[in-house]
Symmetry: C2
Subunit: 198 residues, 2 copies
């Protein structure tokens, strides 16, 4: 017998469409939400509404922000001649957490994936090229170390090299604290190829 109420089922369906949420998690979240006091539910829905309403792309780097320029692009102390290219705002946030990177960013909002039919025109590459008309010293490509990320890195590097701007790629290898015996072969080979002199 279909036992969930129709309204709970609708909510479960909506939650399941979120990334990384399977049916079991969606059920757990849905039952939790309906058991919350009204004010907690209202906080959740207004957080969603407000985030949606007030968030848009940074005019410069295209990350998500609630002002015209994101805090990084608005910061005159940052090195605006060094642009790190990332796939999405979460990757930008991850690098920003290191607190060591002093340049600015460019968010592609995706990666080239022939398998998924995502081509160069489907990510924010045109905007990157436009930014290169300003005074830029280096473009650091920090797309993921996945097939899509590597394809995108190759494509961008070929695109930029003729301009004479330096193009670099973040290193790929054994993660810090990584146990050699548990690391996959491709990564081990990559680490070997990328070895540096001590």
């Amino acid at each position: 017998m279909e036992i969930n109420s129709g309204y709970i089922n609708r909510l479960i369906e909506e939650l399941e469409r979120l990334p990384g949420i399977g049916n079991k998690s969606a059920q757990r979240m849905a039952y939790y939400i309906v058991s919350l006091p009204n004010e907690r539910v209202e906080k959740l829905t207004s957080a969603i509404d407000n985030a949606k309403k007030h968030t848009h792309y940074c005019k410069e780097c295209l990350t998500m922000t609630d002002s015209e320029l994101c805090p990084v692009c608005a910061d005159k102390q940052r090195d605006h001649k060094t642009i790190m290219v990332v796939e999405n705002p979460r990757d930008l946030a991850a690098y920003e957490k290191t607190g060591k990177y002093r340049g600015v960013y460019h968010v592609l909002h995706g990666a080239i994936s022939p398998m998924l039919g995502i081509g160069p025109a489907d990510i924010r590459l045109k905007e990157l090229i436009t930014r290169l008309e300003d005074d830029v010293d280096e473009v650091i490509i920090a797309t993921n170390a996945s097939l899509e990320g590597e394809t995108t890195a190759m494509y961008i590097s070929k695109l930029i090299k003729p301009t004479g701007i330096k193009v670099t790629r973040i290193a790929s290898g054994v993660p810090v604290g990584g146990d050699i015996e548990y690391i996959d072969e491709v990564t081990l080979l990559r680490a070997l190829e990328g070895r540096v002199e001590l």
Copy 2:
């Protein structure tokens, strides 16, 4: 530099309060939500609002439903003299999916947990006892096979036995398809104790 927009941070905080959602999942969901078209976001928030507004406890078994009685309790064909006691509506849904159980349910909305300070008065036990004043043949205790579930099962069985109503507990043992060598010792012992003649 704190890079997420304030509104996105508020949303991440709210999402993190949901069960099973860590910071990384919350970030992923938040960025996904703000990148959705308006009508999709509206579908999500109205699904939340509607589920919250229209869902309440079934008058009989206390599961979540949008009518006075849940479909099981409203069904005259079901055996209303057999009550299966479960911890929450998700467990009820899981048993209902088997399609084989013909009795009705009682949802405790929790389990006794001295560690978390949850006592018998904090779960819906009083309502179960009241239901036993009607004509009931058997109470099947289907709380989890965890410390809290077992404690709750013991407590309920002691409470009901004096009334003369039959009290049973669902079997605990090796799950179907389970590989003996990967099953923990407690489960293996439980399976041995609960062995049945062939």
